[in-house]
Amino acid sequence: MKYRSRNEIFASFSSKILLILITLIFLSPFFWMFSTSLKADHDLFLSPPLLIPNPLIFQNYKKALEYFPFFRYFKNSLLITFGTILGTLLSCSLVAYSFSKLRWWGRNFFFYLMIGTIMIPFAVTIIPQFIIFEKLGWINTFLPLIIPSFFGTPLYIFLIRQFFQTIPDELLDAARIDGASEFQIFLQIMLPLCKPVLFLITLLQFLASWNNYMGPLIYLTDESKYPLSLGLPQFLDRYGTHWNWMMAAATVSIVPIIIFFFFAQSYLIEGIKLSGLKG
Protein backbone atom coordinates (compact mmCIF):
# COMPACT_ATOMS: atom_id res chain seq x y z
CA MET A 1 0.00 0.00 0.00
CA LYS A 2 2.76 2.37 0.95
CA TYR A 3 4.61 1.54 -2.23
CA ARG A 4 1.58 2.36 -4.29
CA SER A 5 0.95 5.77 -2.77
CA ARG A 6 4.58 6.69 -3.29
CA ASN A 7 4.12 5.63 -6.88
CA GLU A 8 1.11 7.86 -7.18
CA ILE A 9 2.90 10.87 -5.75
CA PHE A 10 5.60 10.34 -8.30
CA ALA A 11 3.00 10.11 -11.09
CA SER A 12 1.25 13.33 -10.11
CA PHE A 13 4.60 15.08 -9.70
CA SER A 14 5.85 14.02 -13.10
CA SER A 15 2.58 14.97 -14.77
CA LYS A 16 2.90 18.46 -13.21
CA ILE A 17 6.40 18.77 -14.64
CA LEU A 18 5.14 17.66 -18.04
CA LEU A 19 2.32 20.19 -17.89
CA ILE A 20 4.67 23.03 -17.02
CA LEU A 21 7.00 21.96 -19.81
CA ILE A 22 4.17 21.89 -22.36
CA THR A 23 2.90 25.27 -21.21
CA LEU A 24 6.37 26.74 -21.61
CA ILE A 25 6.57 25.29 -25.13
CA PHE A 26 3.22 26.89 -25.97
CA LEU A 27 4.37 30.24 -24.58
CA SER A 28 7.83 30.17 -26.11
CA PRO A 29 6.99 31.42 -29.63
CA PHE A 30 5.44 34.56 -28.15
CA PHE A 31 8.34 35.04 -25.79
CA TRP A 32 10.77 34.72 -28.68
CA MET A 33 8.72 37.05 -30.88
CA PHE A 34 8.60 39.71 -28.18
CA SER A 35 12.23 39.31 -27.26
CA THR A 36 13.37 39.55 -30.89
CA SER A 37 11.17 42.57 -31.48
CA LEU A 38 13.19 44.53 -28.91
CA LYS A 39 16.67 43.58 -30.05
CA ALA A 40 19.26 45.86 -31.53
CA ASP A 41 20.33 44.98 -35.09
CA HIS A 42 23.74 43.70 -34.03
CA ASP A 43 22.21 41.50 -31.31
CA LEU A 44 19.98 39.62 -33.75
CA PHE A 45 22.48 37.11 -35.01
CA LEU A 46 24.45 36.40 -31.85
CA SER A 47 25.30 32.80 -31.21
CA PRO A 48 24.18 31.52 -28.78
CA PRO A 49 21.18 33.84 -29.09
CA LEU A 50 20.39 36.51 -26.56
CA LEU A 51 17.30 35.48 -24.59
CA ILE A 52 16.59 38.86 -23.04
CA PRO A 53 17.61 41.79 -25.20
CA ASN A 54 19.91 44.38 -23.78
CA PRO A 55 19.52 47.24 -24.51
CA LEU A 56 15.78 47.25 -25.26
CA ILE A 57 15.17 48.95 -28.59
CA PHE A 58 11.58 50.21 -28.57
CA GLN A 59 12.48 52.15 -31.68
CA ASN A 60 11.91 48.90 -33.63
CA TYR A 61 8.17 49.32 -33.22
CA LYS A 62 8.30 52.82 -34.64
CA LYS A 63 10.40 51.58 -37.55
CA ALA A 64 8.13 48.63 -38.17
CA LEU A 65 5.01 50.78 -38.25
CA GLU A 66 6.75 53.13 -40.68
CA TYR A 67 7.14 50.34 -43.24
CA PHE A 68 4.21 48.24 -42.15
CA PRO A 69 0.90 50.08 -42.65
CA PHE A 70 -0.68 48.25 -39.75
CA PHE A 71 -3.71 50.51 -39.41
CA ARG A 72 -4.65 50.22 -43.06
CA TYR A 73 -4.39 46.41 -42.94
CA PHE A 74 -6.25 46.42 -39.66
CA LYS A 75 -9.06 48.52 -41.11
CA ASN A 76 -9.37 46.18 -44.12
CA SER A 77 -9.42 43.11 -41.89
CA LEU A 78 -12.09 44.76 -39.77
CA LEU A 79 -14.25 45.65 -42.79
CA ILE A 80 -14.13 42.12 -44.19
CA THR A 81 -14.72 40.56 -40.79
CA PHE A 82 -17.70 42.75 -39.93
CA GLY A 83 -19.22 42.15 -43.34
CA THR A 84 -19.04 38.38 -42.92
CA ILE A 85 -20.35 38.52 -39.35
CA LEU A 86 -23.38 40.50 -40.48
CA GLY A 87 -24.04 38.05 -43.31
CA THR A 88 -23.56 35.01 -41.11
CA LEU A 89 -25.88 36.20 -38.35
CA LEU A 90 -28.67 37.12 -40.77
CA SER A 91 -28.56 34.04 -42.95
CA CYS A 92 -27.65 31.29 -40.48
CA SER A 93 -30.32 32.19 -37.94
CA LEU A 94 -33.06 32.27 -40.61
CA VAL A 95 -32.04 28.92 -42.06
CA ALA A 96 -31.61 27.34 -38.64
CA TYR A 97 -35.16 28.44 -37.76
CA SER A 98 -36.45 26.69 -40.85
CA PHE A 99 -34.48 23.52 -40.09
CA SER A 100 -35.61 23.35 -36.47
CA LYS A 101 -39.05 24.90 -36.00
CA LEU A 102 -40.80 24.79 -39.35
CA ARG A 103 -42.29 21.65 -40.88
CA TRP A 104 -41.90 21.30 -44.61
CA TRP A 105 -41.40 18.72 -47.27
CA GLY A 106 -37.85 17.36 -47.46
CA ARG A 107 -36.60 19.27 -44.45
CA ASN A 108 -34.60 16.44 -42.89
CA PHE A 109 -33.17 15.33 -46.21
CA PHE A 110 -31.88 18.82 -46.96
CA PHE A 111 -30.57 19.17 -43.44
CA TYR A 112 -28.42 16.05 -43.79
CA LEU A 113 -27.37 17.15 -47.26
CA MET A 114 -26.18 20.40 -45.70
CA ILE A 115 -24.22 18.54 -43.01
CA GLY A 116 -22.65 16.41 -45.73
CA THR A 117 -21.33 19.50 -47.53
CA ILE A 118 -19.11 20.27 -44.53
CA MET A 119 -16.85 17.44 -45.69
CA ILE A 120 -16.26 18.76 -49.20
CA PRO A 121 -12.72 20.11 -49.52
CA PHE A 122 -12.66 23.81 -50.41
CA ALA A 123 -10.16 23.02 -53.17
CA VAL A 124 -12.98 21.50 -55.24
CA THR A 125 -15.26 24.54 -55.18
CA ILE A 126 -12.74 27.35 -55.18
CA ILE A 127 -11.92 27.40 -58.90
CA PRO A 128 -15.50 27.69 -60.22
CA GLN A 129 -16.22 30.20 -57.45
CA PHE A 130 -13.28 32.27 -58.62
CA ILE A 131 -14.56 32.12 -62.19
CA ILE A 132 -18.04 33.24 -61.07
CA PHE A 133 -16.61 36.21 -59.19
CA GLU A 134 -14.29 37.01 -62.07
CA LYS A 135 -17.23 37.15 -64.48
CA LEU A 136 -19.08 39.41 -62.05
CA GLY A 137 -16.08 41.75 -62.01
CA TRP A 138 -15.62 41.30 -58.27
CA ILE A 139 -11.91 40.44 -58.30
CA ASN A 140 -9.89 42.84 -56.18
CA THR A 141 -12.93 43.83 -54.12
CA PHE A 142 -14.05 42.56 -50.71
CA LEU A 143 -17.25 41.17 -52.20
CA PRO A 144 -16.04 37.57 -52.90
CA LEU A 145 -14.89 37.40 -49.28
CA ILE A 146 -18.10 38.81 -47.78
CA ILE A 147 -21.06 37.91 -49.99
CA PRO A 148 -20.90 34.08 -49.56
CA SER A 149 -21.48 34.54 -45.83
CA PHE A 150 -24.95 35.91 -46.62
CA PHE A 151 -25.89 32.43 -47.84
CA GLY A 152 -25.26 30.58 -44.62
CA THR A 153 -22.43 28.44 -43.24
CA PRO A 154 -23.43 24.80 -42.55
CA LEU A 155 -21.55 24.42 -39.27
CA TYR A 156 -23.05 27.60 -37.80
CA ILE A 157 -26.55 26.74 -39.03
CA PHE A 158 -26.12 23.41 -37.29
CA LEU A 159 -25.05 25.04 -34.01
CA ILE A 160 -27.93 27.54 -33.98
CA ARG A 161 -30.36 24.74 -34.84
CA GLN A 162 -29.17 22.74 -31.83
CA PHE A 163 -29.96 25.75 -29.68
CA PHE A 164 -33.34 26.48 -31.30
CA GLN A 165 -34.42 22.90 -30.67
CA THR A 166 -34.20 23.40 -26.92
CA ILE A 167 -36.95 26.05 -27.11
CA PRO A 168 -40.37 24.42 -26.52
CA ASP A 169 -42.78 24.33 -29.46
CA GLU A 170 -45.66 25.31 -27.14
CA LEU A 171 -44.18 28.77 -26.86
CA LEU A 172 -44.28 29.19 -30.63
CA ASP A 173 -47.74 27.63 -30.97
CA ALA A 174 -49.13 30.08 -28.45
CA ALA A 175 -47.77 32.95 -30.52
CA ARG A 176 -49.15 31.38 -33.70
CA ILE A 177 -52.63 31.16 -32.17
CA ASP A 178 -52.33 34.85 -31.28
CA GLY A 179 -51.89 35.45 -34.99
CA ALA A 180 -48.16 36.11 -35.10
CA SER A 181 -46.49 35.36 -38.44
CA GLU A 182 -43.50 33.04 -38.57
CA PHE A 183 -41.24 35.98 -39.23
CA GLN A 184 -42.54 37.81 -36.16
CA ILE A 185 -42.03 34.70 -34.04
CA PHE A 186 -38.50 34.36 -35.37
CA LEU A 187 -37.67 38.00 -34.79
CA GLN A 188 -39.44 38.64 -31.49
CA ILE A 189 -39.28 35.28 -29.70
CA MET A 190 -36.48 33.13 -31.08
CA LEU A 191 -33.72 35.66 -31.64
CA PRO A 192 -33.91 37.29 -28.20
CA LEU A 193 -33.84 33.85 -26.57
CA CYS A 194 -30.79 32.80 -28.56
CA LYS A 195 -28.36 35.59 -27.78
CA PRO A 196 -25.69 33.25 -26.35
CA VAL A 197 -25.44 31.08 -29.45
CA LEU A 198 -25.53 34.12 -31.73
CA PHE A 199 -22.67 35.57 -29.71
CA LEU A 200 -20.76 32.31 -30.13
CA ILE A 201 -21.33 32.36 -33.90
CA THR A 202 -20.07 35.95 -33.96
CA LEU A 203 -16.86 34.86 -32.24
CA LEU A 204 -16.29 31.85 -34.50
CA GLN A 205 -16.94 33.87 -37.64
CA PHE A 206 -14.68 36.64 -36.38
CA LEU A 207 -11.82 34.17 -36.03
CA ALA A 208 -12.52 32.50 -39.37
CA SER A 209 -12.49 35.79 -41.29
CA TRP A 210 -9.69 37.43 -39.36
CA ASN A 211 -7.45 34.40 -39.85
CA ASN A 212 -8.39 33.71 -43.47
CA TYR A 213 -5.28 33.78 -45.63
CA MET A 214 -6.10 31.92 -48.83
CA GLY A 215 -9.29 33.85 -49.66
CA PRO A 216 -7.66 37.30 -49.68
CA LEU A 217 -4.62 35.81 -51.42
CA ILE A 218 -6.79 34.68 -54.32
CA TYR A 219 -9.15 37.62 -54.61
CA LEU A 220 -7.17 40.73 -53.65
CA THR A 221 -4.43 42.10 -55.88
CA ASP A 222 -4.23 45.73 -54.85
CA GLU A 223 -1.99 46.31 -51.85
CA SER A 224 -4.18 49.07 -50.47
CA LYS A 225 -6.91 46.46 -50.01
CA TYR A 226 -4.78 43.92 -48.17
CA PRO A 227 -5.97 42.71 -44.78
CA LEU A 228 -3.49 41.79 -42.05
CA SER A 229 -3.34 38.20 -43.27
CA LEU A 230 -1.67 39.35 -46.50
CA GLY A 231 0.11 42.37 -45.08
CA LEU A 232 2.21 40.51 -42.56
CA PRO A 233 3.59 37.84 -44.96
CA GLN A 234 4.25 40.62 -47.49
CA PHE A 235 6.29 42.51 -44.91
CA LEU A 236 8.22 39.28 -44.40
CA ASP A 237 9.04 39.13 -48.11
CA ARG A 238 10.29 42.70 -48.19
CA TYR A 239 12.03 43.25 -44.88
CA GLY A 240 12.62 39.63 -43.94
CA THR A 241 16.18 40.23 -42.84
CA HIS A 242 15.14 42.87 -40.31
CA TRP A 243 13.90 40.29 -37.89
CA ASN A 244 13.44 42.78 -35.09
CA TRP A 245 11.08 44.93 -37.20
CA MET A 246 9.41 41.80 -38.49
CA MET A 247 8.68 40.52 -35.00
CA ALA A 248 7.53 43.99 -33.89
CA ALA A 249 5.02 43.90 -36.75
CA ALA A 250 3.97 40.37 -35.75
CA THR A 251 3.51 41.47 -32.14
CA VAL A 252 1.32 44.39 -33.18
CA SER A 253 -0.66 42.08 -35.46
CA ILE A 254 -1.55 39.52 -32.84
CA VAL A 255 -2.33 41.98 -30.03
CA PRO A 256 -5.96 42.37 -31.22
CA ILE A 257 -6.43 38.58 -31.12
CA ILE A 258 -4.95 38.29 -27.64
CA ILE A 259 -7.18 41.10 -26.33
CA PHE A 260 -10.11 39.44 -28.05
CA PHE A 261 -9.24 36.18 -26.34
CA PHE A 262 -9.27 37.67 -22.87
CA PHE A 263 -12.74 39.10 -23.40
CA ALA A 264 -14.20 36.05 -25.07
CA GLN A 265 -12.31 33.23 -23.36
CA SER A 266 -15.09 31.38 -21.59
CA TYR A 267 -17.57 31.71 -24.45
CA LEU A 268 -15.00 30.50 -26.94
CA ILE A 269 -13.92 27.50 -24.93
CA GLU A 270 -17.53 26.41 -24.43
CA GLY A 271 -18.21 27.02 -28.09
CA ILE A 272 -15.29 25.03 -29.42
CA LYS A 273 -16.36 22.09 -27.27
CA LEU A 274 -19.90 22.37 -28.60
CA SER A 275 -18.91 22.68 -32.24
CA GLY A 276 -16.42 19.87 -31.86
CA LEU A 277 -18.55 17.42 -29.98
CA LYS A 278 -21.84 17.54 -31.67
CA GLY A 279 -20.42 17.64 -35.18
Partner: protein
Amino acid sequence: MKKSLSAKKKKDNVIGFLFASPWFIGFIIFTAYPILASLSYSFTEYHIMLPPKWIGIGNYTRLFEDPLFIKAFYNTLAYVAGLVPIGLVVGLIIALLLVKPFKGRNLYRGTIYIPSLVPLYAMATISLCFFSSYFGIVNGLLSHLGINGPLWLSDEKWVKFTIVLIAQWGAGTTALIYMATINDIPSELYEAAMLDGANKWQMFWKITLPLISPATLYYLIIATIGAFQIFDLPQIMTSGGPNDASISYVMYLYRHAFRYMNMGLASAMAWFLFLISLILVMLIFKTSARWVFYGTR
Protein backbone atom coordinates in the same frame (compact mmCIF):
# COMPACT_ATOMS: atom_id res chain seq x y z
CA MET B 1 -61.65 20.51 -44.26
CA LYS B 2 -59.33 18.25 -46.19
CA LYS B 3 -58.74 20.93 -48.76
CA SER B 4 -57.83 23.57 -46.19
CA LEU B 5 -55.46 21.11 -44.55
CA SER B 6 -53.54 20.53 -47.72
CA ALA B 7 -53.58 24.26 -48.39
CA LYS B 8 -52.02 24.78 -44.99
CA LYS B 9 -49.42 22.15 -45.80
CA LYS B 10 -48.62 23.94 -49.01
CA LYS B 11 -48.29 27.21 -47.16
CA ASP B 12 -46.01 25.57 -44.57
CA ASN B 13 -43.83 24.23 -47.34
CA VAL B 14 -43.54 27.65 -48.91
CA ILE B 15 -42.67 29.34 -45.62
CA GLY B 16 -40.15 26.64 -44.72
CA PHE B 17 -38.49 26.96 -48.10
CA LEU B 18 -38.42 30.74 -47.86
CA PHE B 19 -36.67 30.70 -44.50
CA ALA B 20 -34.15 28.16 -45.76
CA SER B 21 -33.73 29.92 -49.11
CA PRO B 22 -30.43 31.66 -48.26
CA TRP B 23 -28.84 28.26 -47.83
CA PHE B 24 -30.57 26.81 -50.91
CA ILE B 25 -29.32 29.65 -53.09
CA GLY B 26 -25.84 29.44 -51.56
CA PHE B 27 -25.78 25.67 -51.93
CA ILE B 28 -26.59 25.87 -55.62
CA ILE B 29 -24.26 28.76 -56.45
CA PHE B 30 -21.32 28.07 -54.14
CA THR B 31 -21.36 24.29 -53.71
CA ALA B 32 -23.44 22.22 -56.15
CA TYR B 33 -22.66 24.18 -59.31
CA PRO B 34 -18.91 24.51 -58.49
CA ILE B 35 -18.59 20.75 -57.88
CA LEU B 36 -20.12 19.92 -61.24
CA ALA B 37 -18.31 22.77 -62.99
CA SER B 38 -14.91 21.75 -61.68
CA LEU B 39 -15.59 18.17 -62.74
CA SER B 40 -16.34 19.31 -66.29
CA TYR B 41 -13.42 21.79 -66.33
CA SER B 42 -11.15 18.93 -65.33
CA PHE B 43 -11.64 17.42 -68.80
CA THR B 44 -10.79 20.66 -70.59
CA GLU B 45 -7.99 23.03 -71.25
CA TYR B 46 -9.22 26.30 -69.80
CA HIS B 47 -7.43 29.59 -69.19
CA ILE B 48 -10.45 31.83 -68.40
CA MET B 49 -9.91 34.20 -71.35
CA LEU B 50 -10.88 31.62 -73.97
CA PRO B 51 -13.75 29.15 -73.65
CA PRO B 52 -12.82 25.69 -72.30
CA LYS B 53 -11.54 23.17 -74.86
CA TRP B 54 -12.40 19.49 -74.34
CA ILE B 55 -9.31 17.28 -73.99
CA GLY B 56 -10.77 14.18 -72.32
CA ILE B 57 -8.63 12.71 -69.59
CA GLY B 58 -5.59 14.64 -70.84
CA ASN B 59 -5.23 16.63 -67.61
CA TYR B 60 -5.25 13.52 -65.47
CA THR B 61 -2.61 11.72 -67.52
CA ARG B 62 -0.54 14.90 -67.60
CA LEU B 63 -0.64 15.10 -63.80
CA PHE B 64 0.89 11.68 -63.34
CA GLU B 65 3.67 12.46 -65.77
CA ASP B 66 4.49 15.64 -63.85
CA PRO B 67 7.30 14.95 -61.33
CA LEU B 68 6.44 18.07 -59.32
CA PHE B 69 2.85 16.88 -58.96
CA ILE B 70 4.06 13.49 -57.76
CA LYS B 71 6.32 15.24 -55.29
CA ALA B 72 3.56 17.52 -54.01
CA PHE B 73 1.30 14.49 -53.62
CA TYR B 74 3.97 12.55 -51.77
CA ASN B 75 4.69 15.54 -49.51
CA THR B 76 1.01 15.85 -48.71
CA LEU B 77 0.74 12.18 -47.77
CA ALA B 78 3.71 12.75 -45.47
CA TYR B 79 1.94 15.78 -43.93
CA VAL B 80 -1.21 13.71 -43.36
CA ALA B 81 0.80 10.85 -41.87
CA GLY B 82 2.50 13.30 -39.50
CA LEU B 83 -0.21 15.80 -38.66
CA VAL B 84 -3.10 13.43 -37.93
CA PRO B 85 -1.51 10.99 -35.43
CA ILE B 86 0.86 13.48 -33.78
CA GLY B 87 -1.96 15.99 -33.38
CA LEU B 88 -4.11 13.29 -31.81
CA VAL B 89 -1.46 12.26 -29.28
CA VAL B 90 -0.49 15.83 -28.35
CA GLY B 91 -4.12 16.91 -27.98
CA LEU B 92 -4.98 13.87 -25.89
CA ILE B 93 -1.96 14.24 -23.59
CA ILE B 94 -2.81 17.89 -22.93
CA ALA B 95 -6.44 16.97 -22.27
CA LEU B 96 -5.45 14.27 -19.78
CA LEU B 97 -3.13 16.65 -17.95
CA LEU B 98 -5.77 19.36 -17.70
CA VAL B 99 -8.98 17.44 -17.24
CA LYS B 100 -8.99 17.20 -13.44
CA PRO B 101 -9.54 20.49 -11.58
CA PHE B 102 -6.52 21.90 -9.74
CA LYS B 103 -5.31 25.30 -8.68
CA GLY B 104 -4.37 27.45 -11.66
CA ARG B 105 -5.88 25.11 -14.24
CA ASN B 106 -7.59 27.92 -16.14
CA LEU B 107 -4.31 29.75 -16.53
CA TYR B 108 -2.65 26.68 -18.02
CA ARG B 109 -5.65 26.01 -20.23
CA GLY B 110 -5.74 29.60 -21.49
CA THR B 111 -2.01 29.64 -22.21
CA ILE B 112 -2.13 26.41 -24.17
CA TYR B 113 -5.22 27.52 -26.05
CA ILE B 114 -4.00 30.98 -27.18
CA PRO B 115 -1.74 29.73 -30.02
CA SER B 116 -4.79 28.01 -31.60
CA LEU B 117 -6.42 31.43 -31.94
CA VAL B 118 -3.39 33.26 -33.26
CA PRO B 119 -3.74 33.31 -37.04
CA LEU B 120 -1.61 30.79 -38.92
CA TYR B 121 0.00 33.56 -40.96
CA ALA B 122 1.28 35.12 -37.75
CA MET B 123 2.30 31.73 -36.35
CA ALA B 124 4.19 31.12 -39.60
CA THR B 125 6.22 34.33 -39.40
CA ILE B 126 6.96 33.81 -35.71
CA SER B 127 8.02 30.20 -36.37
CA LEU B 128 10.47 31.29 -39.03
CA CYS B 129 12.26 33.30 -36.39
CA PHE B 130 11.82 30.59 -33.76
CA PHE B 131 13.24 27.74 -35.84
CA SER B 132 15.81 29.78 -37.73
CA SER B 133 18.94 27.68 -37.90
CA TYR B 134 21.24 30.65 -37.26
CA PHE B 135 19.55 32.84 -34.68
CA GLY B 136 16.49 30.84 -33.65
CA ILE B 137 15.89 29.99 -30.03
CA VAL B 138 15.60 26.24 -30.72
CA ASN B 139 19.11 25.80 -32.03
CA GLY B 140 20.30 28.31 -29.47
CA LEU B 141 19.03 26.14 -26.63
CA LEU B 142 20.28 22.98 -28.32
CA SER B 143 23.75 24.43 -28.62
CA HIS B 144 23.69 25.10 -24.86
CA LEU B 145 23.22 21.36 -24.47
CA GLY B 146 26.09 20.77 -26.85
CA ILE B 147 23.83 19.58 -29.66
CA ASN B 148 24.34 20.88 -33.15
CA GLY B 149 20.73 21.45 -34.22
CA PRO B 150 19.50 20.64 -37.74
CA LEU B 151 18.70 23.34 -40.28
CA TRP B 152 14.96 22.73 -39.68
CA LEU B 153 13.06 24.63 -42.38
CA SER B 154 16.11 24.94 -44.63
CA ASP B 155 16.85 21.22 -44.67
CA GLU B 156 15.10 19.08 -47.26
CA LYS B 157 14.92 16.15 -44.86
CA TRP B 158 13.61 18.13 -41.88
CA VAL B 159 11.30 20.71 -43.39
CA LYS B 160 8.08 18.66 -43.40
CA PHE B 161 8.64 17.41 -39.88
CA THR B 162 9.31 20.98 -38.70
CA ILE B 163 6.04 22.13 -40.24
CA VAL B 164 4.23 19.27 -38.48
CA LEU B 165 5.84 20.38 -35.20
CA ILE B 166 4.81 24.00 -35.75
CA ALA B 167 1.24 22.91 -36.42
CA GLN B 168 1.15 21.34 -32.94
CA TRP B 169 0.85 24.82 -31.46
CA GLY B 170 -2.75 24.54 -32.57
CA ALA B 171 -3.37 21.40 -30.49
CA GLY B 172 -5.41 23.38 -27.94
CA THR B 173 -8.62 22.89 -29.92
CA THR B 174 -8.29 19.09 -29.99
CA ALA B 175 -7.44 19.13 -26.28
CA LEU B 176 -10.60 21.11 -25.47
CA ILE B 177 -12.79 18.67 -27.33
CA TYR B 178 -11.17 15.73 -25.56
CA MET B 179 -11.49 17.42 -22.16
CA ALA B 180 -15.21 17.92 -22.69
CA THR B 181 -15.63 14.28 -23.72
CA ILE B 182 -13.59 12.92 -20.82
CA ASN B 183 -15.66 15.03 -18.40
CA ASP B 184 -18.78 13.29 -19.67
CA ILE B 185 -17.52 9.85 -18.62
CA PRO B 186 -19.48 8.76 -15.51
CA SER B 187 -17.16 8.61 -12.50
CA GLU B 188 -18.80 5.37 -11.25
CA LEU B 189 -16.94 3.51 -13.97
CA TYR B 190 -13.59 4.58 -12.53
CA GLU B 191 -14.74 3.89 -8.98
CA ALA B 192 -15.82 0.37 -9.90
CA ALA B 193 -12.53 -0.25 -11.70
CA MET B 194 -10.61 1.03 -8.70
CA LEU B 195 -12.47 -1.42 -6.44
CA ASP B 196 -11.47 -4.20 -8.81
CA GLY B 197 -7.86 -3.15 -8.37
CA ALA B 198 -7.25 -1.63 -11.79
CA ASN B 199 -4.35 0.79 -12.08
CA LYS B 200 -4.38 4.18 -13.88
CA TRP B 201 -2.86 2.74 -17.03
CA GLN B 202 -5.49 -0.01 -17.30
CA MET B 203 -8.27 2.52 -16.62
CA PHE B 204 -6.99 4.70 -19.44
CA TRP B 205 -6.92 1.86 -21.96
CA LYS B 206 -10.13 0.12 -20.87
CA ILE B 207 -12.37 3.04 -19.87
CA THR B 208 -11.16 6.43 -21.09
CA LEU B 209 -9.99 5.49 -24.56
CA PRO B 210 -13.10 3.50 -25.60
CA LEU B 211 -15.45 6.13 -24.18
CA ILE B 212 -13.83 9.02 -26.02
CA SER B 213 -13.76 7.12 -29.31
CA PRO B 214 -16.64 9.14 -30.86
CA ALA B 215 -14.55 12.30 -30.38
CA THR B 216 -11.60 10.46 -31.90
CA LEU B 217 -13.66 9.58 -34.94
CA TYR B 218 -14.67 13.22 -35.31
CA TYR B 219 -11.06 14.31 -34.92
CA LEU B 220 -9.76 11.79 -37.48
CA ILE B 221 -12.22 12.93 -40.14
CA ILE B 222 -11.77 16.67 -39.63
CA ALA B 223 -7.99 16.40 -39.23
CA THR B 224 -7.56 14.20 -42.29
CA ILE B 225 -9.57 16.52 -44.54
CA GLY B 226 -7.68 19.48 -43.09
CA ALA B 227 -4.23 17.90 -43.45
CA PHE B 228 -4.85 17.04 -47.10
CA GLN B 229 -5.42 20.75 -47.69
CA ILE B 230 -2.44 22.14 -45.77
CA PHE B 231 -1.50 25.47 -47.34
CA ASP B 232 -0.88 28.50 -45.11
CA LEU B 233 2.16 27.30 -43.15
CA PRO B 234 4.38 26.00 -46.01
CA GLN B 235 3.21 28.74 -48.39
CA ILE B 236 4.30 31.52 -46.03
CA MET B 237 7.35 29.90 -44.46
CA THR B 238 9.06 28.10 -47.34
CA SER B 239 7.00 28.74 -50.51
CA GLY B 240 7.50 25.02 -51.04
CA GLY B 241 11.27 24.87 -50.70
CA PRO B 242 14.00 23.85 -50.19
CA ASN B 243 14.08 21.97 -53.49
CA ASP B 244 10.27 21.55 -53.41
CA ALA B 245 10.56 19.36 -50.33
CA SER B 246 7.66 21.12 -48.60
CA ILE B 247 5.34 21.96 -51.48
CA SER B 248 1.86 20.68 -50.65
CA TYR B 249 -0.92 19.51 -52.93
CA VAL B 250 -3.04 22.62 -52.50
CA MET B 251 -0.01 24.87 -52.95
CA TYR B 252 0.64 23.26 -56.32
CA LEU B 253 -3.04 23.50 -57.18
CA TYR B 254 -3.00 27.18 -56.19
CA ARG B 255 -0.01 27.80 -58.47
CA HIS B 256 -1.70 26.27 -61.48
CA ALA B 257 -5.08 27.86 -60.85
CA PHE B 258 -4.19 31.36 -59.77
CA ARG B 259 -0.70 32.02 -61.10
CA TYR B 260 -0.63 30.17 -64.42
CA MET B 261 -4.44 30.27 -64.87
CA ASN B 262 -4.47 26.56 -65.81
CA MET B 263 -8.05 26.15 -64.60
CA GLY B 264 -8.58 22.79 -66.31
CA LEU B 265 -5.49 21.14 -64.90
CA ALA B 266 -6.09 22.64 -61.46
CA SER B 267 -9.67 21.32 -61.50
CA ALA B 268 -8.37 17.85 -62.28
CA MET B 269 -6.08 18.17 -59.26
CA ALA B 270 -8.99 19.32 -57.13
CA TRP B 271 -11.13 16.36 -58.16
CA PHE B 272 -8.36 13.87 -57.59
CA LEU B 273 -7.87 15.33 -54.10
CA PHE B 274 -11.61 15.14 -53.51
CA LEU B 275 -11.65 11.45 -54.44
CA ILE B 276 -8.63 10.59 -52.30
CA SER B 277 -9.93 12.33 -49.21
CA LEU B 278 -13.39 10.86 -49.78
CA ILE B 279 -11.94 7.35 -49.94
CA LEU B 280 -9.94 7.94 -46.77
CA VAL B 281 -12.92 9.35 -44.88
CA MET B 282 -15.02 6.38 -45.98
CA LEU B 283 -12.30 4.00 -44.81
CA ILE B 284 -12.24 5.73 -41.43
CA PHE B 285 -16.04 5.43 -41.21
CA LYS B 286 -15.95 1.79 -42.26
CA THR B 287 -13.42 0.75 -39.66
CA SER B 288 -15.09 2.94 -37.04
CA ALA B 289 -17.79 0.30 -36.47
CA ARG B 290 -15.03 -1.82 -34.96
CA TRP B 291 -13.47 0.72 -32.62
CA VAL B 292 -16.00 3.45 -31.92
CA PHE B 293 -17.95 2.74 -28.80
CA TYR B 294 -21.40 4.27 -28.36
CA GLY B 295 -22.09 2.50 -25.08
CA THR B 296 -23.43 4.69 -22.35
CA ARG B 297 -25.86 6.85 -24.28
